[in-house]
């Protein structure tokens, strides 16, 4: 069982993600963030529960939907928001936009907008850990759509073959844009595929941050002990539509009933109630956490909005590293 400090830490992380996403959602309509956004509201528990057990020098790779992981791994919030505004001060200097978040200081080596594309990359940093004889762990976050790609198969086979220190976190929110899992897989258990290779694989409630934390902790220690990869399928749901700020609920889109069910499974609400019931959290603490986070967010957005944009003459910079 985690000590209170960590329990609160998880809560803060989840709240920060939620509040940052809400703020982005709120500001997006002003068309100042001229870049696609993929909000992770509803999926906060996964990034929080996994990253709790990672060191600063462990690696993570995200996807088009990476805000949560960037925040959970300790990425610089100012630089993240500045990237949303495509400013020179952004984490990718305005070249990448919301789908390309990076912060090497804390092991975030980038995220890809190509579905399934980050699976080999993270498997590669894990190979590096092995060749460099360090105990750095790599975590790759991807969705239920990414497992459709051949890279999933090729990379998992390789990771097991070489017993690499890598953790595959599949955030199964059942949807790939408006394509339901049932239109892409004949079964509902992605973890069985990974299991077929012989990789320890699990399917868990991705909205239960304690469960996520528990399974992640074991996976991380397996990696540190050189026992090889682990696959964890986290069942969850994205509240917002695939992209932008719409909801994608209703005819042709996601059923209202499904949506309502998952709203009732709000990972943050459940966890807050749990922490309060167990006396770890009280309303006063909750308020101050709120204020603390709001302050961070205000600072980040102010920083971003007041930052300069790249200059046209800088177009060719960074095509090649020296």
């Amino acid at each position: 069982m985690l000590e209170n400090e960590k329990l609160i830490g998880l809560y803060k992380t989840m709240q920060t993600i939620r509040k940052v996403e809400r703020k982005i959602e709120e500001e997006y309509k002003y068309d100042e963030m001229k870049t696609p956004i993929h909000l992770s509201i509803g999926q906060e528990a996964i990034a929080a529960g996994v990253c709790l057990h990672l060191r600063k020098d462990d690696y993570i790779f995200g996807t088009h939907r990476s805000h949560a992981q960037y925040i959970a791994k300790g990425g610089d919030l100012k630089k993240m928001i500045a990237e949303m505004y495509l400013r020179k001060t952004g984490c990718s200097l305005g070249r990448g936009g919301s789908m390309h978040l990076i912060d090497p200081e804390v092991g975030i080596l980038g995220s890809t907008a190509i579905v399934g594309g980050n699976i080999p990359l993270g498997t590669g940093t894990a190979l590096a850990s092995k060749l460099q004889n360090n105990d750095k762990v790599t975590v790759i976050f991807f969705g239920d759509g990414a497992v459709d790609e051949g890279t999933f198969h090729e990379s998992l086979n390789f990771a097991l073959l070489k017993k690499l220190p890598v953790i595959y976190i599949c955030e199964n929110n059942h949807w790939a844009i408006n394509s339901h899992q049932s239109q892409r897989h004949s079964g509902e258990s992605i973890y069985r595929w990974a299991d077929g290779y012989g990789i320890p694989s699990y399917q868990i409630d991705g909205n239960d941050v304690l469960k996520v934390s528990e399974y992640a902790e074991n996976a991380v220690s397996r990696c540190r002990n050189g026992e090889g990869p682990t696959f964890i399928e986290c069942i969850t749901y994205r509240w917002k539509g695939h992209i932008g700020t719409v909801n994608d609920v209703g005819i042709g889109f996601r059923p209202q009933s499904e949506y309502d069910y998952w709203i009732s499974k709000d990972p943050i609400k459940w966890y807050a109630d749990y922490l309060k019931a167990t006396g770890v959290l009280n309303d006063k603490m909750d308020e101050s956490i709120d204020e603390e986070i709001d302050q961070l967010i205000d600072d980040a957005f102010t920083f971003a909005k007041n930052s300069p944009k790249p200059l046209p003459e800088e177009l060719m910079d960074f095509v090649f590293a020296d």
Partner: protein
């Protein structure tokens, strides 16, 4: 809603007056939609599939509701497995069907080049013509709104290096329909290159099905001082540039190749015979792109007609930046074409 819509909605409507009898004016998007609709109705061997074809959005409206009309057996969503789906389409084609496989972004085509280049495009030749692969790959290229390096590529130029593949690059609603019909009827793999910024473009389109032959370009605007060969969306930017140039008393002829594999060489040569000067503009990166091949072709076969250097106005040789400021610097547009023409004529 796909973010590029944010951008596209900002574009003004561009109207093409085609040399077609029809006075019915519809959009590029609707032209593609009705062609697929009518093809499904006409030929039971045609089927359409790809990520999101049954989406409420229906690949930006081009397949919207067709799964309800023709059933999910012939219009279906797929797993995200571009390479295998391309091979699956090729296999179905070998068995006598006419698959239309859709990529909502051209970038995803890069995942499927093994099946497209190593297999589909080579099958007829490798087996002495014993099997046909009548396959249409639709790709939509995006531009703007921070689409970024992985959601905005136009790699049709790369694929001109692939024997056995045909490439259509329609710029008008009329051509979108006529070339899509030809592509579906063709017994070979055809890459059908669409551009998101053309979707709102309006033009005359006959209701009945008609086909436009591969390798026949068209002059979009006649002129005598310089020839501008434009590919895909760049046709619109070229026409805008020509308009501006007119004000400077520079008469630019704008050629729309319609297909870049095969290429209509004669239409370029005939124009050059008048103008002696050539500017080529493409939606892809400059080096190793479509403009390079067209330039090389001219320099090999029509050098005697050239009075000046051949200018290429394309994307810079840089992965697409997300920043709006950098996008402006990165993309070719009417202003850049205009400036280059002025410089060329001054030189």
């Amino acid at each position: 809603m796909p973010w590029t819509t944010v951008q596209v909605e900002k574009l003004e409507n561009f109207l093409f007056k085609d040399n077609s009898e029809s006075d019915r004016v519809i959009s590029y998007k609707d032209a593609i939609f009705e062609t697929i609709d009518e093809s499904l109705a006409r030929d039971s061997s045609v089927f359409v599939f790809g990520e999101g074809v049954d989406d409420p959005g229906g690949v930006f409206g081009t397949t919207k509701g067709l799964h309800e009309k023709y059933g999910r057996e012939r219009v279906f969503d797929t797993p995200i497995s571009e390479n295998s789906l391309t091979g699956i389409a090729a296999g179905a084609a070998m068995a006598g069907l006419k698959p239309i496989f859709v990529h909502s972004r051209m970038d995803f085509l890069l995942l499927s080049l093994d099946q497209l280049v190593n297999h589909a495009s080579k099958w007829s030749y490798m087996f002495g013509g014993k099997v046909k692969v009548p396959l249409v790959i639709r790709t939509v290229s995006a531009r703007g709104w921070g689409s970024g390096a992985q959601h905005s590529q136009c790699i049709q130029g790369m694929l001109m290096n692939v024997p056995g593949l045909k490439i259509a690059v329609p710029a008008t609603p009329y051509d979108a329909k006529g070339l899509l019909v030809s592509s579906i009827m063709d017994n070979n793999p055809v890459l059908f290159v669409e551009h998101r910024w053309l979707y709102k473009t309006m033009g005359n389109v006959p209701e009945s099905l008609y086909s436009i032959p591969f390798g026949k370009g068209v002059i979009r605007r006649t002129g005598s001082d310089i020839t501008i060969v434009a590919v895909s969306y760049m046709v619109i930017e070229a026409l805008k540039a020509a308009e501006k140039l007119q004000a400077e008393n520079i008469s630019a002829e704008v050629i729309d190749l319609r297909t870049i594999k095969p290429i209509d060489e004669d239409i370029i040569f005939e124009s050059l015979a008048k103008t002696g000067k050539l500017l080529i503009t493409d939606t892809g990166c400059k080096s190793g792109g479509a403009a390079s091949e067209i330039s090389a072709l001219v320099c090999e076969k029509a050098f005697h007609l050239l009075k000046k250097p051949i200018i290429r106005v394309c994307c810079a040789d840089v992965p697409t930046p997300a920043s709006d400021v950098l996008e402006k610097a990165y993309y070719p547009d009417s202003e850049k074409i205009y400036t280059q023409v002025i410089n060329l004529l001054k030189s």
